[in-house]
C-alpha cells in the first residue's frame, strides 16, 4: 500500500507538469483561434485518434514489428561482435575503427539504398532499425566486459580459469547492466529506423500514416501517428526496464543505492 503511495508521490510532479502543458496548449489554441492544419488542439488530436482508431492497429503492429525485429537482431549481432572483440585484441583493432566509421555514416542517407537492396517490405524496416540500434549495444557491452576489476582476472588466472570461464562467469555478468543501458539507448533509434524505412516507400506503418496525413493536410493525424511512435518507444523501454529489473533485482543494488530517497 505504502509502495503505491510512494509511486504516486514520486510520479505526481511530472504528471502535473504534463497535464499543465496539455491544458496550456489547449487554451492557447482556443484563445488565438489557431487553425488545426497549423497546430491542432489536444482535443482535436484525441478526436482524430478515436475516429481513426479502427484502422491504426495494423499500422502500429507493422512499425512495432520492424523496430523490435531490428532491435533484437541488432542487439544479438552487437553482443556477438562485442564478445569477439573482447576476446581478440587483433579483431578489436581491426573492427573498432570500422565501427566508428560506420557510426559516422548517416544511416538515413543510406535508406534509399536499403530500399533498392531489400525492397519496400518488412525487411527494409528491420535492416535500417538494426544498423542504427546495434552500435550502442556493442559499445556498452564492450565497456561492461572490460571494466572488470583487474584483480578478479588475477584471481581467475591463479586457478587456471579458461577464457570461456572468464567470459561466462565474470565478463558477461559484469556487462549485463551496461548492455541494458545500451538497449535503452537503442530503443528509440530502432523506431526511428523503422519509420525512416516507411518514409522511403511503403504501404503501411506509422511512417506511412504520417506521409499520407501530410499529403492530405490532415495535421491532427500526423500528431496522432507521432504520439503513437512515442508511445511505442515508451512501451519498449518499459519492457526492457522490466526485464532488467527481473534479472538484476537485488544484484546490482550498489549501482543505484543512494540514487533515490
Amino acid at each position: 500500500m505504502s509502495d503505491v503511495g510512494e509511486v504516486l508521490r514520486r510520479g505526481l510532479p511530472s504528471f502535473v507538469t504534463v497535464l499543465g502543458f496539455i491544458v496550456c496548449w489547449q487554451a492557447l489554441v482556443m484563445i488565438f483561434h489557431v487553425p488545426s492544419w497549423l497546430l491542432p488542439a489536444p482535443s482535436v488530436i484525441w478526436m482524430e485518434f478515436v475516429k481513426q482508431s479502427h484502422m491504426l492497429g495494423k499500422h502500429i503492429v507493422v512499425t512495432a514489428t520492424g523496430a523490435l525485429g531490428g532491435l533484437v537482431v541488432g542487439a544479438a549481432c552487437g553482443l556477438v561482435l562485442a564478445v569477439l572483440m573482447v576476446q581478440s585484441r587483433l579483431l578489436s583493432r581491426i573492427l573498432m575503427p570500422l565501427l566508428v566509421i560506420d557510426q559516422s555514416i548517416p544511416k538515413m542517407a543510406l535508406a534509399p539504398i536499403f530500399v533498392i537492396w531489400f525492397g519496400t517490405g518488412m525487411m527494409t524496416r528491420v535492416v535500417i532499425a538494426m544498423v542504427i540500434s546495434f552500435f550502442p549495444v556493442v559499445i556498452n557491452a564492450i565497456r561492461g566486459m572490460t571494466t572488470v576489476d583487474r584483480r578478479v582476472n588475477d584471481l581467475m588466472t591463479t586457478i587456471s580459469a579458461s577464457r570461456w570461464n572468464i567470459m561466462t562467469k565474470v565478463q558477461l555478468p559484469n556487462a549485463v547492466p551496461y548492455i541494458f543501458s545500451g538497449l535503452k539507448v537503442a530503443v528509440p533509434l530502432s523506431i526511428i529506423g523503422a519509420v525512416v524505412a516507411e518514409f522511403m516507400q511503403s504501404d503501411s506503418g506509422l511512417g506511412y500514416i504520417v506521409l499520407v496525413a501530410v499529403g492530405n493536410v490532415n495535421t491532427p493525424m500526423v500528431f496522432v501517428a507521432v504520439l503513437l511512435m512515442a508511445l511505442l518507444s515508451l512501451t519498449l523501454f518499459a519492457v526492457i526496464s522490466g526485464f532488467e529489473w527481473l534479472l538484476l533485482r537485488g544484484r546490482f543494488n550498489y549501482l543505484t543505492a543512494g540514487n533515490d530517497t
Partner: protein, 276 residues
C-alpha cells in the same frame, strides 16, 4: 573463545620448532629482480631478493609502500614474471602450481563479484575447478562456517560489513583448499577492532587448515602478532633488510602484545625498517 582452547596442533608446532626439523620448502625465491619499465624510466621494484618459505609457515612481508612486497606476491602467484631469478612453489614452476590450484589469493578489499551472493562468490573457484554440485555445496557450507558466515549465504556483498566481506574473501580463497594463501594487506581497510578480531580468526583458521601463508602488511604489530617469521623490506629498490624469527608462543592471546618479548620484537623490526 577459540583463544582459551588448548590447540594440539599449535603445541605440536611449538615442539617441532625447538627440534631442528627439516621442513619442506614450499616457496623459494632465488635472486629475484623485478624491473618495471615506465615512460619515466625503469623502476627497480625488487633487487636480488632470495627467500625460502617453509610448508605451513606463516610469513609476513613487512615494509613501507613501494618496497615491492605486493610484487613478491604477484610473482609467487605467477601473475608476473621476474626480470631475473627464479620462483618455485613446491619445487616446481609457478605455472605448475597454478595448474594444480595450489594458490589462493586474498586482497585488501575482498574483490567480490557484486552480482553473486555470499555462497555464489565462494562457489566461483569451485565452478572453475569443475567440482560436482553436491561436493561444491558441502565445501561452500564448510568454508562459510569456517569464517563464521553461516546464515549469510544469500546475502549480496553490498549487504555485508567490511569485516564480513573480508571473511568472505578468505572463505573463497580457502574453498578449493590451496596449500598456499597469499594475502595482500587483507585487513588494511578495516577498523582497528575488526582488525584484531580478524587476526585472531585468521590464526585459528591457519592452525586448523595448516596452510602456508604469505601475508603482506605495513603494520609492525600485525606482523609480530601473526607470523612465524617477518621479512622486513626497504624500498627503492625493494630489498630484504632482514629476516626476523618470531618465537612468540602459540596460541597467542591479544594481550601478548603487552608482553616484553612482543615489544622487543617490535622494536627490532622498527630498527630494521629505519636502518636505511
Amino acid at each position: 573463545m577459540t583463544l582459551v582452547e588448548a590447540n594440539p596442533v599449535a603445541s605440536l608446532r611449538d615442539k617441532a620448532a625447538k627440534v631442528p626439523a627439516v621442513e619442506a620448502n614450499d616457496i623459494t625465491l632465488n635472486g629475484i629482480s623485478k624491473i618495471f619499465t615506465t615512460r619515466r624510466g625503469d623502476v627497480h621494484a625488487l633487487d636480488d631478493v632470495s627467500l625460502s618459505i617453509h610448508r605451513k609457515e606463516f610469513v609476513c612481508l613487512l615494509g613501507p609502500s613501494g618496497c615491492g612486497k605486493s610484487t613478491i606476491l604477484t610473482l609467487i602467484a605467477g601473475l608476473a614474471k621476474p626480470s631475473a631469478g627464479s620462483v618455485t612453489v613446491d619445487g616446481r614452476s609457478v605455472e605448475a602450481a597454478r595448474r594444480n590450484h595450489r594458490i589462493g589469493l586474498v586482497f585488501q578489499d575482498a574483490v567480490l563479484l557484486p552480482w553473486r551472493t555470499a555462497s555464489e562468490n565462494v562457489s566461483l573457484p569451485l565452478e572453475v575447478l569443475k567440482i560436482p554440485r553436491q561436493e561444491r555445496d558441502n565445501r561452500i557450507k564448510a568454508a562459510l562456517a569456517l569464517v563464521g558466515l553461516t546464515g549469510f549465504e544469500r546475502r549480496f556483498p553490498h549487504e555485508l560489513s567490511g569485516g564480513m566481506r573480508q571473511r568472505l574473501g578468505i572463505a573463497r580463497a580457502l574453498s578449493f583448499d590451496p596449500q598456499v594463501l597469499l594475502m595482500d594487506e587483507p585487513f588494511g581497510a578495516l577498523d582497528a577492532i575488526t582488525r584484531d578480531n580478524m587476526s585472531i580468526e585468521l590464526l585459528r583458521i591457519w592452525e586448523h587448515r595448516q596452510k602456508t601463508v604469505v601475508f603482506v602488511t605495513h603494520s609492525i604489530s600485525e606482523a609480530v602478532y601473526l607470523s612465524d617469521r617477518v621479512v622486513v623490506m626497504t624500498p627503492r629498490p625493494g630489498r630484504i633488510a632482514g629476516i626476523v624469527e618470531n618465537l612468540l608462543p602459540r596460541p597467542r592471546p591479544l594481550r601478548i602484545r603487552d608482553s616484553s618479548e612482543f615489544i622487543a620484537l617490535s622494536r627490532q623490526l622498527r630498527d630494521l625498517l629505519g636502518a636505511e
